[in-house]
């Protein structure tokens, strides 16, 4: 929506730490996301990516540090207020409402102006406008032909796209995608990654958590790498992936040790 003055970050994650009891899931992570970015947030399983995403969206409150959107601090705000300020999240586990059609699912997100308070929601009946938005967003992610069907009967590939369409219908300034490609076959993953890149090219800022490194390397302009809750890499994808510390995190410390001992960092083929 409002363009940020160039240079000022859209999303600012500042020394965010999340602890669950004795476990430090995210440990002092700092990074910025600028208007128009398509940033890949990657790392091995258990690195703290999803927890960090949850701290950004407000499902968990960071123990330390702060998150701000467009210069405005989000600390202490509940999820719905962060969404209302221009973020939206496409969740890893797709959770459509099963009793209503796919179009109605997306329309519910598109109605955010009318549902901002119960009173306004009570005074508004028509959903024609929202269904039009829903149709447009479903078209955008390539599942417009199933708009009138229930989500219950759809395969995962369609549901992942539905989840994306719903997140887009909120008209966010920043879109957070948590493993949108997980569970898809390589063809579906390739197609959806291309869609995500297109949506980014249309001007939407995106943060993407994804395990599918091939697609991440193909579409992301920048990577942030987490391991054990700490940020161990940040920058242009090829440069970051060439970093021995990042490789070690992905392949295990022993692999790096062994490779270093033999003096042959020949892991080139692995991430291609």
């Amino acid at each position: 929506m409002n363009k940020q003055p160039s240079g000022a970050p859209l999303l600012s994650v500042d020394h965010v730490t999340v602890r669950f009891g004795g476990l430090t899931a995210v440990d002092g992570v700092t990074f910025d996301v600028h208007e128009g970015d398509l940033l890949g947030l990657i790392g091995p399983n258990g690195a703290g990516k999803t927890t960090l995403m949850r701290a950004i969206i407000g499902v968990v409150q960071p123990t330390e540090g702060s998150v701000s959107l467009g210069g405005e601090s989000l600390n202490g705000l509940p999820i719905h207020q962060r969404i209302q300020r221009g973020m939206s999240l496409s969740q890893q586990l797709v959770k459509p409402l099963r009793d209503i059609s796919m179009a109605d699912n997306v329309a519910l997100a598109a109605a955010s102006e009318k549902t901002i308070s119960p009173l306004r929601a009570l005074l508004n009946v028509s959903n024609a406008q929202e269904l039009a938005v829903a149709q447009y967003e479903l078209q955008r992610v390539g599942i417009a032909s199933m708009a009138s069907q229930r989500p219950g009967i759809q395969p995962l590939g369609v549901l992942k796209r539905l989840e994306l369409a719903r997140a887009l219908a909120l008209k966010p300034r920043l879109l957070l995608l948590d493993e949108p490609l997980a569970g898809l076959n390589s063809q579906e993953a390739h197609a959806l990654a291309t869609t995500i890149a297109e949506i980014n090219q249309q001007g939407l800022t995106i943060v993407l958590i994804e395990h599918n490194l091939g697609e991440v390397m193909r579409i992301c302009q920048r990577l942030v790498v987490l391991d054990n809750g700490k940020k161990i890499g940040d920058g242009e994808p090829r440069t970051v992936m060439a970093d021995p510390a990042v490789r070690a995190a992905y392949l295990g410390g022993d692999a790096l040790g062994a490779a270093a001992a033999q003096g042959q960092p020949s892991l080139e083929t692995h991430h291609a």
Binding site: I79, I83, Q84, K95, P118, L122, N127, L170
Partner: protein, 296 residues
Amino acid sequence: MPAADPEVQTMNYEISLLTTMAIAVMFALSLNLITGFCGQISLGHATFQGVGAYTAAMLGKAGLPFLATLPMAMVLAGLLGVVVGLASLRVRADFLAITTMGVGFLFVGIVRQQEFLGGELGISSIPDHGLGRVGFMALALVMCIGVAALSMYIKRSWMGRVFNGIAEDEDTMRVLGIDVPRYKLAAFAMGTALAGMSGAFYTYHLNFIGAESFGFVESITVLSMVVFGGIGSVPGVIIAAALLSVLPAWFQVIGDYKLLVYGGLLFLMMRFSPNGMAGLAQHVASTKWFPTGGRS
């Protein structure tokens, strides 16, 4: 005086029955807003009818006309509803049932101990509403239709769509930017205020109220009406409430074993037809009873 009219006098039983039905339907529809539309199970809904009933009784005895006690009954019941709603926002969905049940026991316990609320004896000789039996019945029916119309309207509005979403998955609704607690509170406020209204009618219909009339059994009864009719289905709940409210009058046994009958009904519906009679009717309609092929 309509009561002097012999024709009306012979109709007294029917008039009374229709009034009872109208009050029960109002009450069941009020719970349907909370449990049916918004998915929040309440096991203490009779409390709010009780608050409305006692408010109307006290104000009526203090000299206020019936029509003035109605809004006050709604406001007080709604206020308590919001307080209980606020408290229950902090508990997980499945604990809400326990919390509301506790509120129900608390209400009965407190009212019984209060001298000014009539204590164990309840409040009797409530002044006449001055509308005549037929007029009172008509007003109850009009209000009942009003509540039904409001329910149908809410279901069609964006509020209804959001309620439906919260009932299915409130975490998803949060991620869609919905202020879930505020919507739950709105459902509580509306549902409990309308229960309060039914309570005021109850008071003036029976001319006597006691704390026991708004206890756990009544809460279960109204919940079984909503479940029997089909959670969320307005016509289903209307039919179920109308039917179940007059059954005890027709069959003495049901009156004697109220908790057993309604509890059993609740269990059977939950187990075999979670969508109630409305769901069952839909199922029957979509099943071909008479095979079109085969037989000629």
